[in-house]
Amino acid sequence: MTSRAALVVGIALVAVALAIAAAPRSETQGERVARLAAELRCPVCQGLSVEDSPSDTARAMRALVEQRVAEGRSDDAIRAEFRQAYGDWIFLSPPLLDPRGLVWLLPAAAILAGLALVATRLGRAPPAPAPTADQLALLRERARLEDAIE
């Protein structure tokens, strides 16, 4: 297999696998309970979620989520019930569409700014004339040997 064929096959395999893995599928009740419970903070723990915490309180809250899911309530209705009882504090991540959602925006902004900064400084060095394949193999072997011996 040539290099190029290996590259194409590899990239295609990853793409297909990702497409299959990310394909939307219906959630089981158990998965829904786990997802909702992971959003909730265990009120008597230090930052553990209701899904993770083995404490009695967390187990009782998880049982409530399970019951509400079994009753057929919507995600938002279940969340609203907990919000009413505890306030926003009960959710382990802050609301996105809210001034407090700034915490979501800042890391993304920082990455974009950093990448932009690097990008503006790229490629200033004049490109070396492209070496031929033979020269390249020679150079690479030499660099490798030097490194290996270094």
Partner: protein, 670 residues
């Protein structure tokens, strides 16, 4: 005289020595005074001996249950076993600061005796700075708020015992000292960086001089973090190992910043770029170690680690402010001397990948810092209470981590300056094909969702690049020197340990990434209330509840649930009741295999008749590979930190009178 008197006296005697060390080292550097340097070196050694004596005294007082010392009375009981008594040295704030000070004194002594022999100005100035840090911590440990040897009168008959969570697992003897070693050893690169700024040096001498201590600090902190994750998994009973708890965040932040630093210094060494950036990174990483200590010891944020809260918060905050103001002030002052001479090449050059990697690592660090402090800021501004936990951190950090895994695969394969198309094809054909296979394996294992499948693909990609590099290195050595494959493989590590050790670290990180993806995505949980003799099913396995028994020990009462697994193996999990804890402490029963862990906890039980118990069982795939991956990272870092073979061979050649260069085959290649 008791151990308490010895320890208290030793700490008070060490402080003037450290203060004298600042003066003598600073003057020795300035005036090139060898006698003063000698004085500074002996001060370092004497201060270290005294602080070590204080730490040993505390350990002896703990082992001897000397309840007249408040720290012992609060963190020890007569029934505490010897091992947990000794490691109670770091069970609470005062002892932890004592441990910190001891390690710092050791670091000062190391620099004094190892690096200042011929009175180099850089190392001697750095020594003065290290003495200044040591003075701060020695002054801290003798203030009443942090003095470990404060008396209690009358002495209680028995102490309260260590926090139950800290007397449950042997890993408590490993995790905190490793993290502290990592934290404190960052002081050495920091001190050299500041010394370099003070002296107005523009080169990378400070980087070269502290390469090994930076790497060792990074590795110890990293291994310490993994050990902490393991402890959390084995003790806290929630089947997880990382909760984005503030103390976990405090440990991971300097590690992330230091990872950026370890890579960006290579750009400075090869391309003469990023001088001020590297200085800023090392100052940042060091400041984050102090910030972490402040956050978790001052009670500002709640954490499972806030075992004690104390009045030293403001002192630590003052220290942090002083460090930041002083070092960034110096950096700004010297900025004109730090002009860049090198240039970045093409987007697909090694230096460009290092820069992207740095952006991502710094962003990852900043996001952890932001998520940790944000609830405090919001509450201060609006009074709203807000929680930021794993849903936030996972969503922000996982994409960054995936991008970093990708860069980890491509960076080492790219030449400096830039790569041609032919190079790219040759370097990446095999690894990309392997990535495809990795993605297919992930699907076959039943993984769904883009992130875990991508982790498998990228981990396979990274491992393939490393295997390819090693294969080519071995082939080159065999062709040139006619070495056997095994000899050639060994000499890669012996001669280019920094490079090949780094590859081993990359493999360890890939293993950790797969272990995290699998254990997060495919873990199964079940809970059942069972009568003795009845069973539950989880992930195709039967777990039979055999019954409950009471176990009485001097330091605790336990209720133990015995379980039998479908393969005949037995497992027990317990709830422990300590006299100094209000709620029961769970001890999970864990059966580890290479494929998965069966993790059982006793969630509730019938206290009257032992007629039933609620058992929670999780089956967690590949989780033990997380600890193994940590070990691989540690081994790789060790290989990279060991001195390369060539230096000693050359020295031998010089000693034996062999003409230099004759035995060095590089000549042939050139």
């Amino acid at each position: 005289m008791t151990w308490g008197d010895v320890g208290a006296g030793a700490l008070r005697a060490a402080l003037p020595l450290a203060l004298w060390g600042i003066v003598s080292a600073a003057y020795a550097a300035r005036e090139r005074d060898v006698r003063l340097l000698g004085s500074a070196r002996w001060s370092a050694l004497a201060a270290f001996a005294l602080v070590l004596l204080a730490a040993v005294s505390m350990a002896a007082a703990l082992l001897g249950h000397d309840m007249s010392i408040r720290y012992v009375a609060e963190n020890n009981a007569r029934a505490t076993p010897a091992y947990f008594s000794a490691i109670s040295l770091w069970a609470a704030l005062e002892g932890s600061i004592l441990l910190w000070t001891t390690i710092l004194a050791g670091a000062v002594t190391y620099v004094a005796w190892r690096s200042t022999r011929s009175l180099p100005r850089l190392a001697t100035t750095a020594l003065a700075i290290l003495f200044a840090m040591l003075s701060f911590f020695l002054a801290l440990v003798v203030t009443p708020a942090a003095d470990p040897f404060v008396r209690i009168d009358p002495a209680p008959l028995d102490g309260r015992g260590p926090n139950p969570l800290l007397q449950d697992h042997w890993l408590m003897g490993l995790h905190p000292p490793l993290v502290y070693l990592g934290y404190v050893l960052f002081s050495i690169p920091f001190a050299y960086a500041v010394a370099s700024l003070i002296l107005g040096e523009s080169g990378d001498r400070w980087i070269v001089a502290t390469r090994r201590s930076a790497l060792v600090a990074w590795a110890l902190l990293g291994v310490g973090i993994v050990a902490g994750a393991w402890w959390s998994y084995a003790v806290l009973g929630w089947g997880g190992y990382w909760a984005w708890d503030p103390v976990e965040n405090a440990a991971i932040m300097p590690w992330l910043a230091a990872t950026a630093y370890l890579h960006s210094v290579m750009v400075e060494e090869k391309r003469r770029m990023l001088r001020s950036w590297n200085l800023a990174l090392v100052i940042g990483a060091f400041s984050l170690t102090i910030l972490g200590t402040f956050l978790t010891r001052s009670g500002v944020v709640n954490s499972v680690h806030s075992f004690t809260q104390s009045a030293i918060g403001p002192l630590l905050l003052g220290y942090l402010a002083a460090v930041l103001a002083f070092s960034f002030g110096l950096l700004l002052w010297r900025l004109p001397r730090l002009a860049e001479t090198g240039q970045i090449g093409a987007p697909l050059s090694r230096e460009a990948i290092f820069l992207f990697q740095n952006v991502l690592f710094v962003a990852a660090t900043a996001a952890v810092l932001l998520g940790t402090l944000y609830p405090l800021a919001v509450e201060a501004i609006s009074g709203d209470q807000l929680s930021i936990g794993s849903p936030y951190f996972d969503r922000v950090e996982v994409p960054i981590a995936l991008a970093l895994l990708f860069l980890m695969g491509i960076g080492p394969q790219l030449p400096w300056h830039g790569a041609s198309r032919a190079t790219l094809e040759r370097q990446f054909a095999g690894p990309v094909a392997t990535a495809g296979a990795g993605a297919a394996v992930a699907l076959l294992l039943g993984l769904r969702g883009a992130a875990p499948v991508l982790v498998w693909a990228l981990a396979a990609f990274v491992v393939a690049t490393v295997v390819q590099e090693m294969w080519r290195g071995v082939r080159a050595r065999r062709m040139l020197h006619g070495e056997s494959p095994a000899t050639a493989f060994a000499s890669l590590f012996r001669r280019s340990g920094r490079r090949y050790g780094g590859y081993v670290v990359h493999v360890g990180i890939a293993v950790i990434a797969v272990a995290i993806a699998m254990s997060q995505a495919l873990s199964v949980r079940a809970e059942a209330t069972l009568a003795p003799g009845s069973s539950m099913e989880v992930a195709g396995r039967t777990v039979t509840f055999l019954g409950l028994r009471d176990v009485a020990e001097a330091r605790r009462q336990q209720v133990v649930a015995d379980l039998r697994l479908s393969d005949g193996g037995e497992l027990s999990t317990a709830l422990s009741f300590y006299p100094n804890a209000t709620s029961a402490i769970g001890s999970p029963g864990i059966r580890s295999t290479a494929g998965d862990d069966l993790y059982a906890i006793l969630a509730a039980y019938d206290a009257r008749g032992h007629a039933w118990a609620t058992i929670q069982v999780r089956v967690i795939p590949l989780v033990s590979w997380l600890w193994i991956g940590g070990l691989i990272v540690g081994i790789g870092a060790l290989i990279a930190a060991l001195p390369a073979a060539k230096a000693s061979e050359r020295r031998r050649a010089v000693v034996l009178g062999t003409p230099r260069g004759a035995p060095v085959p590089a000549a042939e290649a050139k």
